[in-house]
């Protein structure tokens, strides 16, 4: 469980870490859109280099990005196979019923492979360099316009940060409960499927009970400190837009222009 890198934040002091989380989120989303504009080897090369540059700017070890890709590798390979065998066009090397190996298929598969890797790298970069709290305050800041149509933005943001805050707590709790049940003779990860499903019950129920306890305690603590849902909120962490954020927007704009020129 410790090796799972999805959604994990690695603290650091790089430029990417210090960027405005709002900018980072919007730009990551924008980048994913841009990736779909690429349609030839040059545009993919440009995107690849851009991603590599961004990754290097984080000053994190490359292994963490690899760990982000790892869980998706089966999905990527599966998509690859489908692309290779079901796309027709260009020269056909081999054919058997509905399956065909064609030059267009191979090229397409390569592009899709590249596209997925780039997208995963960029989104891993976002989560690796942005703390969950920053993500939630960025979201609430970005959602501010929704207040006009009476969406309870503050409450949603609070719910989000509480949920994020409790992920590690509940993870620890899970490990503790698993250990306690293991000490009582439960074997996780062995036996038939039915036995393995049965082994989950002794974890889930205590975990659920403890999550409820946490929620009740938090409720009391917040009420005791005067939390009200109807009062306007201020934030302790104020996100600020810096010159580096403007610069990054310019970089992405430049990327867009380049892609438009090199794409077929």
């Amino acid at each position: 469980m410790n090796k799972l890198m999805i959604g994990r934040y690695l603290p650091g002091h790089s430029v990417v870490h210090q960027m405005d989380p709002r900018g980072k989120m919007v730009l990551t989303f924008y980048f994913i859109c841009i990736v779909f504009m690429a349609n030839n080897i040059w545009s993919y090369l440009v995107l690849g280099l851009f991603t590599l540059g961004a990754v290097l700017l984080t000053r994190l070890k490359l292994i963490y990005f690899w760990r982000g890709i790892q869980p998706a590798i089966i999905l990527i390979l599966f998509t690859l196979l489908i692309q290779v065998f079901f796309t027709r066009g260009g020269q056909i090397y081999w054919q058997w019923g509905p399956f065909a190996l064609s030059s267009a298929g191979v090229v397409n598969a390569w592009f899709i492979f590249f596209r997925l890797v780039i997208i995963i790298c960029m989104s891993t970069l976002l989560t690796l360099t942005t703390s969950p709290l920053d993500i939630s305050s960025a979201l609430s800041s970005l959602m501010t316009p929704l207040k006009w149509i009476r969406v309870p933005v503050d409450i949603i943001a609070l719910m989000l940060s509480i949920a994020l805050r409790f992920v590690p707590t509940l993870m620890d709790e899970t490990v503790r409960i698993m250990n306690a049940q293991r000490a009582r003779g439960v074997d996780f990860g062995s036996g038939s499927l039915l036995q393995q499903i049965k082994a989950i019950v002794p974890i889930l129920i205590p975990l659920f009970v403890s999550a409820m306890h946490h929620a009740e305690d938090l409720d009391d603590a917040m009420t005791a400190r005067g939390y009200r849902t109807d009062a306007p909120r201020t934030t302790y962490r104020i996100i600020q837009w810096h010159r580096r954020d403007t610069l990054s927007i310019i970089a992405f704009a430049a990327l867009t222009v380049v892609i438009f020129f090199v794409r077929a």
Binding site: N2, K3, L10, E173, R176, I177, N179, A180, Q181, R182, A183, R184, G185, V186, D187, G189, S190, V201, P202, I205, P206, V209, S210
Partner: protein
């Protein structure tokens, strides 16, 4: 069952930036049937050490020998189950592990996992519940309807029902009222004395160490920094204070009496010993006064 740790080190989350040392080069022998206390500040590696005693954790380097089983970094996770029936581990806030519909089912869960037939498991559950003082009127109740103290007892019964040879207790009385605390500590003492069950107790209560333990291990920062009988551990208050540990209340009281001029021959660790020493000094004085 004897447990021997030989140059055991353990690193948390090895290979990530979150890596941290849990244990550093710990070598110790826990003799068969002994009552050992482990003390040390929070975060000193006590709980990590405990989890090595029933192979929940495997050392990063070094070996752990539990009875005749050797646990090395390469030991596979298979076939560790028989070992866990022999070494019962009661975690901190053990009530968090309860999950069954009824008290007796929850207590019988452990034995059933180790292949004890249903009927025998229930019989064992009843015996264990009797030991911890939970009467038959509770057998059919949901464990979640009990009070905090009762839940703790049920959880401890769940480990006792596995009839372990060695009982490992991680702060078993934390958060209990004084009466519940004394009752549980007396229960463990009885199990140790009458059934010869070995006990390893992690505690912050120096009184418990003084009253029950035969041997003490002191942990700090992942290292085992001192081991010996309680009298030896508590003989150096300056050293204890340096490691953020205290003296048992009786010993503290005796030191203050001595500072006030009462010539106590040595520092008692338990209240009984203190009373005996004070009496030994006061009685001749009173007799002298009467004459």
């Amino acid at each position: 069952m004897e447990i021997v740790l030989d140059h055991v080190s353990y690193t948390y989350q090895a290979g990530t930036p979150f890596a941290g040392d849990g244990l550093r080069d710990v070598s110790v022998t826990i003799p068969d049937g002994s009552y050992t206390a482990i003390i040390g500040q929070t975060g000193s590696g006590k709980s990590t050490l405990l989890q090595h005693l029933n192979a929940l954790l495997k050392p990063t380097t070094g070996t752990v020998r539990i009875g005749d089983r050797e646990i090395t970094p390469k030991t596979s996770n298979k076939n560790l189950k028989p070992l866990r029936a022999k070494v019962g581990l009661v975690f901190q806030f053990a009530e968090n592990q309860l999950f069954e519909e009824t008290v007796e089912k929850d207590v019988a869960f452990g034995p059933k996992n180790f292949g004890v037939p249903e009927k025998e498991a229930l019989a064992r559950a009843h015996r264990a519940l009797d030991l911890v003082g939970i009467g038959p009127e509770y057998y059919e109740n949901s464990p979640f309807d009990l009070s905090g103290g009762q839940m703790r007892r049920v959880a401890i019964a769940g480990v006792l029902a596995m009839t372990p040879e060695l009982l490992i207790l991680d702060e078993p009385t934390a958060g209990l009222d004084p009466k519940g605390r004394t009752e549980l500590m007396t229960l463990f003492e009885t199990l140790h004395r009458e059934q010869g069950i070995g006990i390893v107790l992690v505690t912050h209560q120096m009184e418990d160490v003084a009253n029950y333990a035969e041997f003490v291990l002191v942990m700090a920062d992942g290292h085992l920094i001192k081991q010996g009988p309680p009298a030896e551990i508590f003989s150096d208050p300056a050293w204890l204070a340096e490691h953020h540990l205290g003296l048992p209340r009786a010993a503290q009281f005796a030191r203050e009496l001595r500072a006030k001029g009462l010539p106590l021959p040595d520092i008692p660790l338990t209240e009984q010993a203190l009373a005996a020493e004070v009496l030994a000094i006061l009685r001749p004085r009173r007799e002298a006064d009467h004459e």
